[in-house]
């Protein structure tokens, strides 16, 4: 069975949910610890949502320096599939594995809402189970989810298809170009603000639409 690591930082909150989603997708979740310098041979890694280090200083700014991150950055650069959800996305931006930054929501309040998203790029390691243009319903829950990048970076992202997920309805947080998630140039590292791990079972989420992120990585790159 494929093994997918979920990193626990002090203040990680959605780690058990990410692990559940991995299990439902048919893989074995492996807990990784921020203070360890090893990835325990996993086939892919998820950085879960939460408030690592209390979001002190800046979201993701401290977690980026955790011992496990130096291993992760090296592995990601050689193709390891990495998914950052919410706080995990913020950490990936701080670690420069993904371009841009996440800033305070334009409404200045935390927003929890079920949103309709469009999968713009279905060729990444984490979105291959979807069709390009497919719409999915997934919850967003964050206070600092406003994606920002300079004009040059944005143009590059759009030109290279690195915008992976976009909000389709009213923009919930002021993100530029309605961007909800992006990937690196190779498509193995993906980050998004909405929480696909909370849309894996209609009993506890608005849909099961998010499960595709976790089955993608099994069927695609690892299959």
């Amino acid at each position: 069975m494929r093994r997918i690591g979920v990193i626990g930082f002090p203040g990680s909150l959605d780690d058990r949910d990410a692990a559940r989603a991995v299990r439902l997708a048919g893989a074995e979740p492996v807990a990784l610890w921020h203070a360890d310098r090893e990835l325990r041979g996993v086939d892919a890694v998820i950085l879960p949502g939460g408030f690592s280090y209390g979001d002190y200083l800046r979201c993701g700014a401290i977690a980026r320096f955790a011992p496990v991150m130096s291993e992760l950055v090296a592995a990601a650069r050689t193709g390891l599939p990495v998914l950052g959800i919410c706080n995990g996305f913020q950490i990936l931006c701080e670690a420069h594995l993904l371009p841009g930054a996440l800033t305070r929501n334009s409404g200045l309040r935390f927003v929890t809402r079920d949103l309709r998203l469009r999968v713009e790029n279905a060729r990444t390691a984490w979105t291959s189970a979807y069709a390009a243009g497919q719409e999915i319903v997934v919850p967003l829950k964050s206070g600092e989810g406003c994606y920002a990048a300079d004009a040059g970076t944005l143009a590059d992202l759009e030109a290279r298809g690195q915008v992976v997920i976009r909000y389709t309805g009213p923009n919930p947080n002021g993100s530029v170009s309605d961007i909800a998630g992006v990937c690196n140039a190779e498509g193995n590292v993906v980050g998004l603000m909405p929480h696909p791990e909370h849309a894996v079972d209609p009993l506890t989420g608005p849909s099961a639409d998010g499960l595709g992120f976790f089955t993608s990585v099994l069927a695609g790159v690892l299959g």
Binding site: G11, L13, D14, Y53, D55, F110, K141, G143, T204, G205
Partner: protein, 749 residues
């Protein structure tokens, strides 16, 4: 030490002369400054329950026989057996006074405090709820207090990783200077995980762990929560309303939810390793409370080195250290051989820990400060506190209030009039869409939330394999309780019970947060006594024991008290959360059945309040036997899969329930009303619910309903894009949604 000729500052610390003299009598000498500080917080109303104790005994005396209770009143929180080896602990507590003085931190630390109560029982906290009451929605000061309270709960609860699954939001002028912020937490553990709050075993070490101790919250329990606000705070503007209370601001604690998250995970790892012999959270009265209560409940003696307490402000002395209410702290009793392991777990989670003392067999709580003894007392004398039988008297104006019958109010008699009243009700701030508030809370984290706002009750899955879950609801209604505190409290209990039942769960146990004015006012004390008697009798009749709770007195500004506002939380067990019922109408052609009997009952109703600003008459008559039958029917019908939706009828009656269910499910309905349409739409008779019966299940449901002895009538069906009352009016869902959704954003941005 103070010279014998100088009067000690007992009054400034909130103690009466008689209480001071009792301390002197107990010790046989003048107390030291540290001892005086310790007694002042321990004997505060907030910590000692000195005015309420004599009444609260009824919860135990009248408790129904229940096999579900593993730990009851007197613990940090009650513990209930829900089967399959699981136990659940839950409690609701007030943080009213701090939330008025500093809304954001006041509300945030209210969440933090109740979460530690649940943690201290040995449970993993799994969800929170908040019952909030403010002054008029349009009042400038509500614009200061409400957004601050909501942001505080959002900040703390979200960062802690606890889903917020429900609660209440209401407005009334009586809460203008005294908002109510009541926070509930629920936790889950295995039966064997229960921790004890007692310091047993001489030689065992006492460890303080978590945050450092600072000057924040000094006197929070005695100065802030155990006295009324002055009259000056009653009238104010958005900018300066709390200025009269500025001096009390340092009494409000400051929260660090990140540290609390680490503390939760650290404690759970300590429990799993069997490293804890006794445990107490630090809340009101801080180190003073934790040491005296642990010692009094255990072997009886403890020696504490106060200079070993890690400080964030080195200028603090023994009295401040004892009284500080710095947040995110716990105290554990640990066997000497396990101390190193204990400290290693703390280090893993970056939680600071310090051995500050040990358990002794002396029967004395002795504290030293750099070698000098500063406290030497029998701990029971501080932990037990005084007991008062406060005078109580039914207020003279009560008769006049009850005589002011709402049946005399002008009421609509045609379609447009009924339609306008329905829209006015669902567009009133207390009944409007609460998304502006609840969207700021994380309801998804932990992945086990099955139902959350705007459902009647919250529902959390406990076991993924079996579907076992717990349902929770909180309810309060100051208007009913003002008209009749005995019956009003039973109505509130019945509503929370019903809200749990409509999810398909079986109600098991009760917690309460009793919000009242000053106990020194005989009229308020009468309200309190009646409410407690009503709750104890109601719980006995429903067969659900009270497992714990909290009393908040002094919710008054000058001589004006809030409405008596007991907020009741009911916990239920759900055999299979996959069979849960939502309030939403989303199955077309389901037939709608109104369960229960409807009488013309408008005393304290939302209609009288919203349309006429009227409060008078008698509240609806509770019928607890009917509530039990209704709950039994709902659980059976849910388990059999006969229903697609169920909604409790309460504020605003059938009219508001239908509107909420249509909006929740995104589907309209068409109903025919028996008899007087006004009464059918807006009466608030208790023991009622509206259910949507799945097409094809009608006959089976009628038979089940008759078996359970619940009266009912088919009133229409689900479908279409209107809420349509045949022969009277129809409202398109879009118009309903606009009236419902825009209210709070319009008020608060």
């Amino acid at each position: 030490m103070t010279a014998d000729t100088v009067t000690q500052p007992f009054a400034e610390l909130g103690l009466t002369r008689a209480e001071y003299e009792k301390i002197v009598g107990t010790l046989g000498r003048r107390p030291t400054d540290a001892e005086l500080a310790l007694y002042s917080v321990m004997w505060s109303e907030h910590c000692s329950y000195k005015s309420s104790k004599v009444h609260l005994r009824q919860f135990a005396d009248k408790a129904p026989a229940s096999t579900a209770l593993l730990a009851g009143i007197g613990h940090n929180a009650g513990v209930v057996d829900i089967g399959q080896g699981y136990a659940v602990t839950f409690k609701i507590e007030s943080h009213n006074h701090p939330s008025y003085v500093e809304p954001h931190q006041g509300a945030a630390t209210g969440v933090g405090g109740i979460v530690r109560d649940i943690l201290a029982m040995g449970a993993r906290p799994v969800a929170v709820m908040d019952a909030l009451r403010f002054g008029p929605a349009a009042a400038p000061d509500t614009g200061r207090v409400l957004p601050g309270v909501v942001s505080g709960i959002s900040f703390y609860g979200n960062c802690l990783g606890l889903p917020n699954i429900g609660g209440e939001l209401d407005f009334d002028p009586c809460y203008a200077g005294n908002p109510l912020v009541n926070a509930l937490c629920v936790g889950v553990m295995r039966h064997g995980d229960l921790q004890v709050a007692a310091a047993h075993g001489p030689g065992n070490k006492v460890i303080l762990f978590g945050s450092t101790t600072g000057p924040d919250g000094v006197g929070g329990a005695s100065v802030l929560a155990s006295a009324s606000f002055g009259g000056s705070a009653a009238s104010g503007s958005a900018s300066g309303s709390a200025s009269g209370e500025a001096a009390k601001r340092p009494s409000v604690q400051v929260g660090d939810p990140f540290l609390e998250k680490l503390l939760v995970e650290c404690c759970l790892e300590l429990f799993a390793g069997g490293l804890v012999a006794g445990l107490q959270d630090l809340g009101a009265a801080g180190v003073a409370c934790a040491t005296t209560e642990l010692a009094a409940a255990g072997t009886g003696g403890m020696r504490v080195q106060l200079d070993a307490v890690p400080l964030r402000d080195p200028s603090l002395g023994p009295p401040e250290i004892l009284m500080s209410e710095s947040q995110e702290r716990m105290m554990a009793v640990v066997e000497p051989g396990r101390v190193d392991e204990f400290l290693a777990v703390c280090a893993k989670w970056d939680v600071r820990a310090a051995v500050i003392g040990e358990v002794t067999g002396t029967g004395r709580l002795v504290m030293t400060w750099h070698g000098e003894t500063v406290v030497d007392i029998p701990p029971g004398s501080a932990a037990d506190g005084p007991v008062y039988h406060r005078p109580l008297a039914r207020p003279a104006a009560q008769d006049e209030l009850v005589a002011d019958d709402p049946l005399l109010l002008p009421r609509p008699s045609d379609g447009p009039g009924l339609r306008a009243d329905l829209l006015a009700l669902i567009g009133s701030p207390g009944l409007a869409d609460k998304s502006w508030v609840t969207d700021q809370y994380d309801r998804y984290v932990r992945g086990d939330t099955v139902l959350a706002m705007p459902e009647d009750g919250g529902l959390v899955r406990v076991d993924e394999a079996t579907g076992l879950g717990i349902a929770l609801a909180t309810d309060g209604n100051g208007r009913y309780c003002r008209l009749d505190p005995y019956l009003g409290t039973q109505l509130v209990l019945a509503e929370a019970y019903r809200n749990v039942a409509v999810t398909g769960a079986r109600p098991l146990a009760v917690t309460n947060c009793l919000n009242f004015g000053s106990p020194e006012d005989p009229g308020v004390m009468w309200q309190f006594a009646e409410a407690v008697r009503g709750l104890a009798d109601g719980c006995a009749a429903l067969g659900v024991p009270v497992t714990g709770g909290n009393v908040s007195f002094y919710n008054q500004t000058g001589s004006a008290a809030i409405h008596p506002t007991p907020v009741i939380g009911v916990l239920g067990v759900h055999a299979d959360v996959r069979r849960r019922l939502s309030i939403g109408f989303d199955v077309p052609d389901a037939s709608l059945v109104l369960l229960g009997r409807t009488e013309a009952e408008f005393g304290g109703s939302a209609w009288a309040h919203v349309r006429h600003g009227h409060l008078g008459g008698r509240p609806p008559a509770p019928d607890l036997a009917a509530e039990q039958r209704l709950a039994g029917l709902l659980a059976a019908a849910a388990a059999a899969g006969l229903l697609s939706a169920a909604h409790d009828l309460s504020d605003g009656g059938l009219a508001v329930a239908l509107a909420e269910s249509c909006l929740r499910g995104g589907t309209g309905c068409r109903v025919r009303l028996p008899g007087d349409p006004f009464t059918a739409l807006f009466s608030e008779s208790a023991a009622r619910a509206v259910v949507a019966v799945r097409p094809g299940a009608e006959a089976e449901f009628v038979s089940l309903r008759e078996t359970h002895g619940v009266p009912g009538a088919t009133i229409g069906g689900v479908g279409g894009d209107d809420l349509s009352v045949e022969g009277w009016f129809a409202i398109p869902l879009a118009e309903l949604a606009a009236a419902h959704a825009g209210v709070l954003p319009g008020l608060f941005g």
